[in-house]
Amino acid sequence: MMTNTAVDPSTALMLRVRDGDAVAFEELVALWQDRLVTLFRHHTGDHALAEDLAQEVFLRVYRARATYKPTAKFTTWVHTIANNVSSDLRQRAYRRKERGVPTNVSASSSALGLEHLAVAASGLRPARQADRSELCDVVQDAIASLADNQRMAVLLAKFEHCSYEEIAAAMGLTVPAVKSLLFRARDQLREKLEAYEREGTR
């Protein structure tokens, strides 16, 4: 058994939550909510939805508290739950789509093409002096154009500073599969951002 309690405050909190400490759970929520909202915000492009998903993660953490074993980093465990929540969201959206219900979860932004991205990056500004907000939108759109697993891998790497191994553990993949996933994401991002990079301000 790993002894992460000394180096990982999240694991220590989770062990207290497992033992029924409500205060520890509150501390854990406070410690993780911004990170999870950020992750889901960039994953879905929707801030309100990101908050809901983050709460869903905390709810699952609480429900699974009795089964938690500190054999791995708490971070990896939470990322696994977050990935599952994301997958469930995708499946719900798929079912809604199957039933003909319009959905606004990533799908609309994923449908953006390179032309739209170029317009979004510079077409609306004749001087092509996109500010940081505009660039942010362009990158967000590019991220949204990635496949769900590619997007999650990119976000875990960039915003959660996960290694290949941690991403693989959280997503249930092998390390080579994660590497391939990130390479393909990079190529796709390059393709999407090509027009902007070529004529943008950076």
Binding site: E26, Q33, D34, L59, C136, A153, S180, L189
Partner: protein, 322 residues
């Protein structure tokens, strides 16, 4: 950004894998959760836990109660409903308990014939007993027969589910060895032909006094005792074979050993052995009983030989027959 996914193994970190896109992602801002999110999350989780607790209670209580109820219903149903074999065993339990005795009795028809034919008791002592003759001095064991008759009189065959339940409880209360014996006997009874089973049920009812339409019970009991006496004279192997005989064959067997021989003065007298009368004993016709029957010629009863014919002298013609 010219690397292909095939070169993914060469890179050390995700940042290297993403290349220039990695830096570009820095423009994405870190999202901040609202200040109330912690409290709302904790409240939401607490409310969910309370609801889940109630759901979990209802979730396990209802199936648990259903399983318990189904178990109880199954037990009750199991006690009231039974397989055909089990039902047959419980219905015929008194017979099965004394199957050997009832099989020995055979059938009502056989016992009626025995009673009607007025066979004498055997002269031989029971097999394996010393001494000779005298059923009075060495009475054959009637204990099993009496017990069977008493049991059949006390507990009629068949019955409703209530009596079957009582019999089942009585069966379950018996020692394991006895229960095994009864189960074996029930299996043996079940293997008999249906006509044979019906005969046994009928004779069991008659011996138990439950067959109001049949012959007189005392008459049948006396016949059963006499038949038991005759069987007791034979060795066990022969006895077993005789019990397996049909009614007509049994009567034939009895006729062969117990019937008075025609022309020999009727039933044997007390103290006489049927097959081996004492030497010199004579019957009513004056012939010795140890001799051959009168319809068979004696070996030396042949007519006297004719005198030998004389041949004519040489040259003389024999007389012509007239």
């Amino acid at each position: 950004m010219s690397d292909s996914p095939a070169n993914a193994a060469a890179v050390e970190t995700p940042a290297e894998a993403l290349g220039a896109a990695w830096d570009l992602l820095d423009v994405l801002p870190a999202a901040a959760a609202p200040a109330t999110m912690t409290s709302t999350t904790v409240e939401m989780v607490a409310a969910s836990a309370r609801g889940r607790g109630r759901d979990a209670y209802a979730g396990w209580l209802v199936p648990f109660a259903t399983v318990v109820a189904a178990f109880l219903v199954g037990m009750l149903a199991g006690r009231t409903t039974m397989s055909d074999a089990e039902r047959a065993m419980l219905d015929n339990l008194p017979l099965i308990e004394h199957l050997d005795v009832v099989r020995e009795a055979g059938s009502v028809e056989f016992l009626s014939q025995v009673a009607r034919r007025n066979y004498p008791p055997p002269r031989r002592p029971p097999f394996g007993r010393p001494g000779e003759g005298g059923g009075d001095t060495n009475p054959p064991p009637y204990q099993a027969l009496d017990e069977a008759v008493a049991a059949l009189a006390a507990a009629p065959l068949g019955g409703d589910s209530g009596s079957a339940a009582v019999r089942r409880e009585s069966l379950e209360a018996r020692p394991e060895e006895e229960r095994r014996r009864l189960i074996d006997a029930a299996a043996e009874f079940g293997r008999l032909p249906s006509t044979r089973r019906r005969e046994l049920v009928q004779v069991a009812r008659a011996l138990g006094g439950r067959d109001g339409t049949g012959p007189d019970r005392d008459e049948l009991l006396a016949a059963a005792r006499l038949w038991h006496q005759w069987l007791a004279t034979r060795d066990p192997a022969e006895r077993k074979g005789v019990i397996e005989l049909e009614t007509a064959e049994r009567l034939e067997w009895l006729d062969r050993y117990a019937s008075p021989r025609p022309g020999r003065g009727g039933p044997f007298r007390e103290g006489q052995f049927r097959n081996f009368p004492p030497p010199g004993e004579r019957g009513p016709d004056g012939r010795p009983l140890d001799g051959p029957p009168p319809d068979r010629p004696r070996f030396n009863d042949r007519p006297p030989p004719e005198p030998p014919r004389r041949s004519p002298p040489p040259g003389e013609m024999p007389p012509r027959p007239r």
